[in-house]
């Protein structure tokens, strides 16, 4: 009954969406939204894609598109910027429909939305309120975010929808894993692969934002941002905003240090690591004694040492997936481990990652990885 009560009172979703936009205070807006590229030329580090899209922009003929690549590489930004350039600010709202596959469950809802949306005939007003001229081609763009989380059946149904409305709509599928898009769907789209951002353009972008928001950051902080976000610009910007919040909240604002970024990202200090043999260690390698915030009883060795270290790591609250990522980086770049050893380690880590995704226990699996890595790196 309570549920009914909620439903009865709740206004429709659309309304709240509009409300939000009128109300939202620009200072509260996530920087990711605030600094989305205005035009496709502003998109960082995807020169190839930008040049191809420029051509379609001039001819105003758009194919169906499939954008794929790791998160935070500008897929959504690109299509939004492109649509804005095509339709201008006035028509943008009526011409672009953004659907989130994991939000709107079930293909029937998608179909309904697309149908309603496509039914309204596009009006062409080429001169917009800002005085600029926009090509405003006679079709609408439907952006399907997270398309790879759609089921096979939904994708198959989507294929029909694409065909039915091909005359007046263009679809843009956005996803992380192109392999999860069924072939018939993928073959109807021009595919664009977004590569991870190179650090120089990411650096530039972060620097610009920091300057615009008047956040004092030095190069070390930006480097940490880039390394902790592993090529995901959205994450880097979010971290930056969080750090700025934390520093700006005090009076006077405290400067931002790389450690702050690490803390926000949940990354532990570089010196922390799990047992890779100290005997073979290179310069930056990890001796168990170096495991900084953690001090392990000196008389432990072998199994007990590893067990104790893992326990301490868990006590510190670091998440297993984060430990795994960092351990991975250490091992891949390790100077003395052989390729065979490294691949054995990689195998374990892959298994652990799978298990963790299934919800397995953090401690058991980190211990498992640590033990196997130890075994591999200490051949009898």
């Amino acid at each position: 009954m309570t549920a009914n009560f909620f439903q009865a009172r709740g206004p429709s979703k659309k309304k709240t969406g509009k409300e939000k936009e009128s109300i939202i205070n620009p200072s509260l807006q996530p920087w990711v939204e605030k600094y989305r590229p205005e035009t496709i030329d502003d998109v960082s580090s995807q020169e190839h894609i930008v040049s191809v899209l420029q051509k379609t922009l001039s001819s105003t003929n758009l194919p169906h598109m499939l954008f794929y690549g790791p998160p935070g590489t500008g897929k959504t930004s690109t299509i939004l910027a492109l649509a804005r350039q095509l339709f201008g600010p006035d028509n943008f709202r009526t011409r672009v429909l953004e659907l989130n596959a994991s939000d709107e469950r079930g293909i029937s809802i998608v179909r309904e939305k697309v149908k309603n949306f496509a039914r309204q005939t596009p009006r062409a007003e080429t001169v917009a309120s800002d005085g600029k001229k926009y090509p405003c081609p006679p079709y609408k763009i439907i952006i399907l975010d997270e398309a790879d989380s759609m089921t096979q059946d939904a994708q198959a149904a989507l294929r029909r929808i694409m065909e039915n409305y091909a005359r007046i709509t263009r679809f843009c599928l956005v996803c992380n894993y192109v392999t999860r898009i069924i072939e018939p769907l993928a073959s109807r789209c021009s595919k664009f692969r977004f590569k991870p951002l190179d650090s120089s353009s990411a650096r530039q972008r972060l620097g610009n934002i920091a300057a615009a928001e008047q956040v004092p950051v030095n190069q070390a902080v930006i480097s940490t941002l880039i390394s902790t976000s592993s090529g995901d610009l959205r994450r880097a910007i979010t971290y930056l905003q969080s750090a700025a919040r934390l520093s700006g909240a005090t009076e006077p604002p405290t400067p931002i240090f790389p450690q702050d970024i690490q803390e926000i990202a949940g990354v532990f200090a570089q010196t922390v690591g799990v047992d890779v043999p100290p005997t073979q260690s290179g310069d930056e390698d990890i001796d168990m004694a170096d495991v900084t915030p953690l001090t392990v009883k000196a008389d432990l060795r072998g199994f007990d040492l590893i067990r104790e270290t893992v326990k301490l790591l868990i006590r510190e609250g670091y998440s297993a997936s984060q430990i795994l990522i960092q351990l991975h980086d250490i091992i891949v770049e390790h100077p003395t481990l052989t390729g065979r050893q490294k691949s054995a380690c990689a195998l374990t880590m892959a298994e652990a990652d799978k298990a963790l995704c299934d919800g397995a226990d953090d401690e058991l699996w980190i211990l498992e990885v640590a033990l196997r890595v130890h075994k591999v790196s200490h051949p009898e």
Partner: protein, 359 residues
């Protein structure tokens, strides 16, 4: 009622450890630009205490006027769900994982409701309400996806504070929308401070050093457990002088004995006996993962170094299987059998000398 609840710090200023973190939370709450937060860290480290203190900082003492409601939700399949909800005028606290796979409905309904009702209290310091979601790491994927959307949609009226033991099970979009706040377990000294503080406030007299050390070692970073044990010991011997033994919960001792059973004998008959014990543990609502870990801890203490890694390996494997399957007993028992057979082979290996090509 219990000391843990009675002497829980109410404000950020009262918190004893992680001072830097408290400062940050304080400045965040004061800034007017309050983000979604994700508190994570081991159990008993003080996440919930910090959340409550942050809420106090945000809205003042009014957040402590709490009431518990039982909300009823109807699933599309017309199943009825009961969820306990704690709320004040400013926030609402829920544990959606209680309803298993239906958590998405609970999340959607509650968040929608909160987002669409304006703050009633005109004098409130903030326009938004806060939703605290406990055990966020056991939310289903669906619920997490739903959460992700609402976090963006209703940013004006709503802030979310998630509380989780680990971030491994949270999807990346959620993590990237929250400010991550790691609450590490307190150190030995920090725990000592807290225990002494509790002792003082409870009028329990001076806590002997060796007793405190014992409690802290036993608690392994779990502050709540330490205080509970302390209170139990105090009740047992009110003058604290005779230093009573640590009051261990029954299940722990029980698990150790199960571990010993595994080491003593490795026969099908013993498997059956162990199974009965495992059933007993399960029927007392002890989470199977904890059973497995505790028994494994005991077993590895008692076996040869060369076996330890294997035993933990299988513990990890079967723990994972347990999550996928739905009858925990199968997987617990499979692990027991595995350990027994490893142990037995190990001894056969010793007796028969060189059996390298067999093992």
């Amino acid at each position: 009622m219990l000391w843990v609840d009675d002497y829980r710090p109410r404000t950020l200023n009262e918190l004893h450890y992680h001072v830097r973190l408290s400062q940050r939370l304080k400045s965040l709450a004061g800034s007017g630009d309050f983000p979604h937060l994700l508190f994570y860290g081991p159990s008993g480290a003080g996440k919930k205490t910090r959340i409550a203190a942050t809420l106090n900082e945000l809205f003042g003492g009014g957040v402590e006027k709490l009431k518990i409601d039982q909300r009823v939700f109807i699933t599309p399949s017309r199943k009825k769900l009961d969820v306990n909800v704690v709320q004040s005028n400013y926030h609402i606290e829920l544990t959606p994982s209680e309803v298993g796979n239906y958590d998405r409905i609970v999340i959607q309904e509650i968040l929608k409701e909160i987002a669409q009702t304006q703050q009633v209290d005109v004098s409130a310091k903030h326009r938004f309400k806060v939703v605290v979601i406990n055990e966020a790491d056991s939310l289903s994927r669906d619920a997490q996806a739903a959460l992700r959307r609402t976090m963006e949609k209703y940013m004006t009226n709503l802030r979310i504070i998630l509380c989780a033991n680990s971030t491994s099970r949270l999807i990346a979009p959620i993590k990237s929308r929250c400010l991550l706040i790691r609450v590490a377990a307190p150190s030995h000294e920090e725990m000592l401070t807290v225990l002494n503080h509790v002792a003082k406030r409870a009028g329990a007299g001076l806590l002997p050093q060796d007793m405190a050390d014992e409690i802290i070692t036993d608690a392994n970073g779990n502050m709540r457990k330490a205080i509970l044990v302390f209170e139990a010991m105090k009740m047992q011997s009110p003058d604290l002088s005779s230093s009573p033994p640590i009051v261990k919960p029954d299940w722990e001792t029980y698990c150790y004995k199960v571990g010993d059973m595994i080491i003593q004998e490795q026969t099908p008959q013993r498997v059956m006996e162990v199974r009965a014990k495992l059933y007993e543990l399960l029927s007392h609502c002890i989470p199977p993962t904890i059973i497995l870990k505790t028994v494994a801890d005991r077993v590895v203490q008692k076996v040869d170094e060369s076996l330890k890694a294997d035993i933990m390996h299988w513990a990890a494997i079967y723990e994972n299987r347990m999550r996928l399957g739905n009858k925990k007993i199968y997987h617990l028992e499979a692990w027991v059998v595995k350990v027994m057979s490893l142990y037995k082979q190990f001894f056969l290996g010793i007796e028969l000398g060189d059996l390298d090509d067999f093992i």
